[in-house]
């Protein structure tokens, strides 16, 4: 059976997320998940079922995530996963796009008095297991002929606890995380984020290879959200927009054309996505944008029209 069929049969989407990463995917104590990765999955569910709630989240550690996807345990992996060639080509996976452009940075304790990554020779690093962070770090230090000691934890919670207890000098992770992780410290002012970014980290949803239809669906759900932002469609005005004469808007919301049909989705899938989850900008601002605990500027993640690199192919 195709993935779409089995998802429909099951009645919900099975989505792999983190075990808890603020802004990306985190459960509250009612079991409600929030975050940009979570919303990405909700958008897929909305596109298929017209109901963003028809999704179940499987918390996975970084080490487990690819195996879970490969084995079919989950349908989509939306777990701030970096898009790399190896992963794309040899793990039997396909990346469907980028829902967050990130880069790896360093959080260091103030007391060691370091202001640049080049001074970190010989330091101990707290890292999360199974991430590109682990590899980037090794590359960076090899390139700069420095030494380091990697201390690898299973979950981001443990990584922070390791750093908080003074076991390592530096916590390294995607920059988007550093601020949030810092805020978890009992004394946030005891640590600083270094200005260096040592890698490119395009994060995005992943699906299994070999099911092009499913690949297209997940890919175009994200594109639909970006296009919606370009077109100024938000969850608030989406009903009004339905009456719009703009053919682009009509195609997106399904009032014109057979975009949905081509993907194997209902015609109104674009409308459902925006109605249930919102456009990309809304999703961003709600979860990680200014005013949230993460308080991140759009930066690279702004639309191409606004100085960022968020760019989606046209829906036609």
């Amino acid at each position: 059976a195709t993935t779409l069929e089995s998802v429909k049969d099951r009645g919900h989407l099975q989505c792999g997320v983190t075990t808890g990463l603020p802004g990306f995917s985190q459960p509250d104590d009612k079991g409600n998940w929030t975050g940009i990765d979570v919303d990405t999955c909700r958008a897929v569910a909305a596109a298929i079922f017209g109901d963003g709630a028809k999704v179940q989240f499987t918390p996975l550690t970084a080490k487990e995530r690819f195996t879970a996807l490969q084995s079919g345990e989950i349908d989509v992996l939306s777990r701030n996963t970096t898009w790399t060639l190896t992963r794309d080509a040899s793990l039997g996976l396909n990346f469907t796009g980028t829902n967050y452009y990130d880069g790896q940075g360093f959080l260091v304790r103030k007391e060691i008095g370091v202001s640049d990554a080049s001074e970190l020779d010989g330091a101990t690093f707290c890292i999360q297991a199974g991430t590109t962070t682990e590899l980037n770090l090794a590359d960076y230090f090899r390139a700069n002929d420095m030494e380091f000691k990697p201390l690898v934890f299973d979950t981001s919670e443990q990584t922070v606890q390791g750093f908080a207890s003074g076991r390592c000098d530096v916590l390294t992770s995607d920059r988007s995380q550093l601020a949030a992780l810092r805020s978890k410290l009992s004394d946030p002012s005891s640590a600083v984020i270094l200005p260096n970014t040592i890698s490119k980290e395009p994060l995005g949803p992943v699906v299994r290879q070999g099911d092009d239809q499913w690949f297209n669906i997940v890919k175009w759900v994200l594109f639909a959200q970006i296009n919606a932002e370009e077109l100024g469609i938000t969850s608030e005005n989406v009903d009004k927009m339905k009456e719009s004469d703009n053919p682009n808007i009509q195609r997106l919301l399904g009032t014109d054309g057979d975009m949905g049909e081509k993907l194997g989705l209902p015609a109104e899938f674009g409308y459902d996505i925006v109605k249930e989850v919102g456009n990309y900008g809304e999703m961003y601002n709600r979860n990680v944008g200014p005013g949230t605990p993460l308080d991140l500027e759009r930066g690279l993640n702004a639309l191409w029209t606004e100085g960022g690199i968020m760019y989606a192919p046209p829906l036609r």
Binding site: A62, K63, E64, R65, F66, T67, Q70, S71, G72, T86, R87, S90, L91, G92, L93, E111, I112, D121, G122, A123, T124, A129, G130, E134, L135, L137, A138, D139, R142, F148, K149, P150, L151, V152, F153, D154, Q158, Q161, G162, S165, G166, R167, D169, R208, Q209, G210
Partner: protein
């Protein structure tokens, strides 16, 4: 022989009433079922892997790993292969298991004997230890030792400094590393001689006992010789060992031998947890030796220490060994909880990062399980050999 029998007529035997035939059929069905399900499993897996585009085979073991490991007993860096990470992880597992088995055995025997102590306070403390420790999940205890202890250790700059040689901080315990210099040969020779001397002393002591009945304090003298002789040689040769003393460089100490807190926490937790079980095994082993044995020894005039050493312990060991074996096995398996605190054992390194980087779950998991199976079979094998050696001779 006379087959014709007026009272008896040969009843025809139905083949399905013959237990041997039944057994054969039953076993044939069972083995077919096993093979069928095994084949179905393999077939499914291969089909699934192919349809999902997962690569198969063990080629990945030769590819470059590209990630660092904080601790390894053999040279390792990020340019080495995934195969190498397997060995690094395996050795780390063996290291912590070996250390754990030794410490847990020693601690367990002490606590087990303490449970039977005549000192009320000691007996009760041993009881409390056992009842508290063995009823709390190991994972929690690992967390406890790791985070609780880490929090209370100073940072490298404020290290606890013992004579400028030994440092303790939240990066670990730093010890001087002995480096042999010319002249070290004398010390090595002294060690060999000391060992030889101990063997000779034992033989002589036995002979003397044979002849005069005097009992020579073999143990004390042996220890003295084993320590004293090499020490003398060391001093005489002008201290031919230089010490690579750890010192603070940058953020951390360099040089010397390091024991990282992850190893220490895991080691403590495993030893302390397993010791609580071993203590109970030891206690019940000692109690299993019948009272008649102790009485007989006492009636012969043996003092309580001798009774314990000559009569009780040798018999208790027979009872202790089999359950002790399973505790050792448990300890080895439990060492896989290392992954919870970042100690780079086999499960954490190989079934963790390597699996994640290569995506070859089936191969990696099979290798990992194979390792545990081998370790467990080896331990059982040794224990069985020992068991057979000490088995009571019966009629």
């Amino acid at each position: 022989m006379n087959d014709s029998n007026p009272h008896y007529e040969q009843t025809r035997r139905k083949p399905w009433n013959d237990p041997r035939v039944r057994a054969l059929i039953f076993q044939a069905v069972a083995i077919a079922a096993v093979f069928w399900s095994g084949w179905a499993l393999i077939d499914n897996t291969l089909a699934n892997m192919e349809s999902r585009g997962i690569s198969t085979g063990f080629d990945f073991l030769n590819q470059s790993a590209g990630f660092g490991i904080i601790m390894s007993l053999i040279p390792y860096d990020a340019t080495m292969s995934y195969g190498r990470t397997f060995w690094v992880g395996l050795l780390n597992t063996l290291l912590v298991s070996g250390m754990g088995i030794i410490a847990a055995t020693v601690l367990g025997f002490i606590i087990g004997v303490a449970r039977l102590s005549s000192n009320w306070l000691i007996a009760k403390i041993a009881l409390v230890y056992v009842e508290v420790i063995r009823n709390i999940p190991l994972l929690l205890q690992i967390f406890f030792w790791y985070f609780a202890v880490l929090r209370n250790l100073p940072s490298p700059r404020q290290s606890v400094d013992v004579g400028g040689l030994l440092f303790l901080n939240n990066r670990g315990l730093y010890l001087p590393d002995p480096v042999a210099e010319p002249g070290f040969g004398w010390v090595a020779a002294a060690i060999v001689i000391a060992i030889a001397a101990v063997v000779i002393i034992r033989i002589l002591a036995k002979r003397r006992q044979m002849a005069t009945g005097k009992i020579f304090p073999t143990v004390k003298v042996s220890v003295a010789v084993l320590i004293g002789l090499p020490l003398l040689a060391y001093l005489a040769a002008g201290g031919p060992i230089s010490w690579d003393i750890p010192e603070l460089k940058g953020f951390n100490f360099g040089g010397g031998i390091t024991m990282i807190p992850e190893l220490a926490a895991l080691w403590f937790a495993l030893s302390i947890y397993t010791a609580s079980f071993i203590a109970e095994i030891v206690r019940s082993g000692i109690m299993a030796v019948s009272k008649g044995q102790t009485e007989a020894a006492q009636a012969l005039g043996l003092k309580s220490g001798m009774t314990l050493r000559l009569v009780v312990i040798p018999q208790a060991m027979r009872v202790i060994i089999p359950p002790l074996t399973s505790q050792y096995l448990n300890l080895v398996k439990n060492s896989s909880l290392a992954t919870a605190i970042g100690y780079p054992d086999l499960v954490s390194v190989f079934m963790g990062t390597t699996l994640n980087q290569t995506g070859q779950a089936v191969e990696v998991v099979a290798m990992t399980m194979g390792v545990y199976l081998t370790i467990s079979l080896l331990i059982s094998l040794f224990m069985n050999i020992y068991n057979r050696a000490v088995a009571l001779k019966e009629r």
